[in-house]
Amino acid sequence: MKKRGRDWAAAAACLLLAGGLGTVSLFVGSFPLSLSQIGSILTGGMEGTLEAQVFWQLRFPRMCMGLLAGWALGLAGGVYQTVFRNPLASPDLTGVASGASLGAACAIVLGAGTRLEIMGGSFLMGMAALALVLLLVGAARLERTGSYILAGVIVSSLAEAGLMTLKVMADPERELAAIEVWTMGSLSAMTADKLPLPAAAVVLCTVALLLLRRPILMLSLGDEQARSLGLDPVFWRGVLLTLTTLMVAAVVSVLGAVAFVGLIAPHIARLLLGRRGGPYLPLCGLVGGAVLLCADLPARVYTLPLSIFTVLLAVPVLAALLWRRKEGAYGDDA
């Protein structure tokens, strides 16, 4: 019983935290909605009023998307840190965030960009960034964990260069501002109609990733052991990378690039749980959701980009990580 106690405690804590933050975020926003108003809206009252419309079209989708995006980034971070055996691995690693930013900037500068075009552009470029990473690793004929990280750095730098070019070309009044807002991430433009597509991608990828927990754990033992256990590390890393990138690109295409959530969520989950087995991956997702909702609360009050607050949240976590490293908490080769 003792060995399961901590699992339950950690899961309950994360559920409460994410649920609590979700509830609180329903009450916070620029349009004033009182407790009693929200109560009657939730029970089906006030139909057709402006209040109900604000709640169902803006407030509620914003909370859902925040939770969903945080879940996707946190889960992806947990998978990356396990599979790459590296505590600094995160969804940005494969260049997907920079690729998606470049795609969004392209749409903004070239097509003036409806929201759908921006979403599509960033999703396509995010996936293209992953394809390029896999291609580079394949061409180097050296399938090690370090190769993916190096290839990710190369692709990210390329995308950053492209982004800088576009910023210079952009019309400073409208386009440049839009690009800047996009690269810092924001939920302020979130409406109900943008929810279904990323939600479907995140749910599908989550189910697949949770079913594939064994290959994920096996890759954390290193390629040679994985191979001797009958798991083709190259094939499975490709599968897992594609699933996570699909999920991340789907949410990033709506939110823009949000920094650090995928990096710190797995560390908090690991700190709470004390291990990587059992409910570790869903916990990464829950913590990610909580972190993003937490950052979105001040972001909507002050109408500022999300990344400002996720970075503020990440600083103490990363400092704690630095502190723990000297105790060898991440192994000798991490």
Binding site: L212, R214, L217, Q225, G274, R275
Partner: protein, 259 residues
Amino acid sequence: MGTMLEVRNLWAGYTDFVVRDLSFAVAGGELVGILGRNGSGKSTLLRGLTCGLRRRRGQVLVRGEDCAALSPRQRARRMALLPQHTPSSPGLRVEEVLELGRYPWEGPLRPPGSQTRELVRRAAEQFGIEGLLYRDCAALSQGQRQLVQLARVAVQGAPVLLLDEPNSALDFPNTHQFFRTLTGLLAGGERCALVVLHDPALALRWCGRLLLLEEGRLVGELRPGETGLHAVQSALGRLYPGLQVRQDRESGRLFCAME
């Protein structure tokens, strides 16, 4: 006992071939030691057997089946390799590492069942690590981790065991306990083991047969129980210059000393 593992003209290596034209066979129940100096191709030989290398030529047959034609999972049901370096990332419990040993049988989607838990429990008892099952594997000592890896190989349940320096981190009693356990695993004749060793005395004490490797080629074969003292002396002396093999008068066992 029938032939369990047959190797025909195996060449294996990385950019160049390190293992050159090796042929041998291992019967069920046999414990075969591989001796050779550093860099003589011992580890490469084991990797080559599991088809884990890009440059590879020749045939490896397990019970008459060619391994190159098999999928990685099918191969892992027939051969279990314990690599020399077994990195473990923090956060995995011993129990979970052992359960992963059933992957070749269960596949990526099926969660470990009651049969797997029973196998894990039995292997943990065999290797004396039942008290460590809920500990973080990365927090254990090198020797304890090695015992975990050996138990993992036992859980894998393959007939051919390939062990690369399995005793490199074990203390004196654990080393002998390990060989006793291994001999017990092989006793039914359902398995055979190929073990890379650095200590010729240990090899003479426990292995039924020794393969001597020099620059990737097979340069000799010894049967410690049957080969005479002088033949053992000259074969091992060639591999390890200055090595003296002595025989205990009472038990007839062979010992090694350096001049």
